[in-house]
Structures are given as C-alpha cells and as structure tokens.
C-alpha cells in the first residue's frame, strides 16, 4: 500500500529565509507525487507535480521539489519565504499502477508553515 509521511507538523521561518518541508513516501509502483497548499478557509491548490519526467519539479510561487527515488523523498523548497506563503501544505501520492491520471490520492497529514516578519 502507498503512504506519505510529512516529517514536520509545523515549520516556522522568518520572511526572506529558505523553506524546507519534508516528505517521504512509500510506493510499490512508480508514483506520481504532488504538493498542494491550503490557505485558511480556502480549497486545495496544486503547487507542483512529479509524474516520472524531470526529477526537479518547479511549481508556482517559486516552490520546487526534488524526487529522490533512492531516499523515497519529495521535499518541497523555496529559496525565500514570503508572508503570503503561510498556509498548510500537503504532500500527496497517487495510488496508481500507472503514472498520473485517474486513481485516488493519498494525503500526508500536512505541515503548517508559519512565516514571521
């Protein structure tokens, strides 16, 4: 069975400093991996996705994630945090025999990012 572990439930950074949100996954197959962000009282917005193409994936708002198969990791990074980045971030794996597409998503527990002035 596939699973996702987000290693930090809360991360606090100062504005302008780097962000690192850690995610490890377990998958029997070649996974599709996603990062979603949820701002307070808002829906889930796709930040970026990995579907077996380039291992370094660039997303919106300056976020990146690197797929490392040997470490079964898909950590999310941003060089310089902005106040508007404060939100809940979810690492997600697609429970799929095939990359991408149409099978259910399995969510991590989430990491709440706080950004201080």
């Amino acid at each position: 069975a596939q699973s996702v572990t987000q290693l930090d439930s809360h991360v606090s950074v100062s504005e302008g400093t780097p962000v690192l949100l850690r995610c490890n996954y377990s998958s029997s197959y070649s996974p599709s991996l996603f990062w979603y962000v949820q701002h307070p009282n808002k829906g889930l917005q796709l930040l970026l996705k990995y579907t077996s193409a380039a291992t370094l994936v660039k997303g919106i708002n300056g976020f990146e994630a690197e797929f490392k198969k040997s470490e079964t990791s898909f950590h999310l990074t941003k060089p310089s945090a902005h106040m508007s980045d404060a939100a809940e971030y979810f690492c997600v794996v697609s429970d799929s025999l095939f990359s991408g597409g149409y099978n259910k998503l399995i969510f991590g527990a989430g990491t709440r990012l706080a950004v201080h002035p």
Binding site: G43, L44, G100, N103, K104, I106
Partner: protein
C-alpha cells in the same frame, strides 16, 4: 483559469437528516472524486467516479453515501442520514486523466448537530 465549484460553502444539518453536497467539475474533465477532511485530521478519499459509475470507494463510503452526475455537469454527494461524525470539510475534485493534476474545489463545511 477553470475552477471546480462547490455549493454550499457551509451547511448545518440535524442528525438523521439527508444532505446533498453539490459540485460542478471542470467541463472537459473525465474523472471525479469526493474527499473529506475531519477537523485536525488527514484528507481522506471517499469515492471516485468515471463514465457514470463508481470506479473505487473507500470503507468510509458505506450505504449512507451515494454519488450522482445527474445532468452531465453537476456531481453530487448525498448522505442519507447524517451522523455527528460526518461533520467535516468535503472536497470535490476532477481531472482529465493522464499526467494532469487534480483540481479541487473550495470545499463544503458540513456541520451535523
């Protein structure tokens, strides 16, 4: 940018009542889903729907739950007799399939009293 639209944004209902949560997926998407997030817990898969039938459902999705795509645009989740533990945020999602991501709606917060 196309959106998945969910209504209502918040619904309060009495225990034992039926509720219908509504979603309008993106028009060219083929696969539809419902997820829920109980306060303080993970987002959980409920059901997936393709070609007018359920393709997969979780153990949460028991006989009290049903889904429909009545008119080719709306996608509904019905809970026949709500329980207190059904209180959660319910998210609808859709995808065209392939290597595309999933687009989520803003959610319906269901409160059962």
């Amino acid at each position: 940018e196309p959106e998945v639209t969910q209504t209502p944004s918040h619904q309060v209902t009495q225990m034992g009542q039926e509720v219908i949560l509504r979603c309008v997926p993106i028009s060219n998407h083929l696969y539809f889903y419902w997820y829920r997030q109980i306060l303080g817990q993970k987002v959980e898969f409920l059901v997936s729907f393709y070609n007018n039938e359920i393709s997969e459902k979780s153990e949460i999705f028991d006989d009290q739950f049903s889904v429909e795509r009545p008119d080719g645009s709306n996608f509904t989740l019905k809970i026949r007799s709500t329980k207190l533990e059904d209180s959660a945020m319910y998210f609808c999602a859709s995808t065209p399939g392939g290597s595309y991501g999933y687009t989520f709606g803003s959610g319906t917060r269901l409160t059962v009293v």
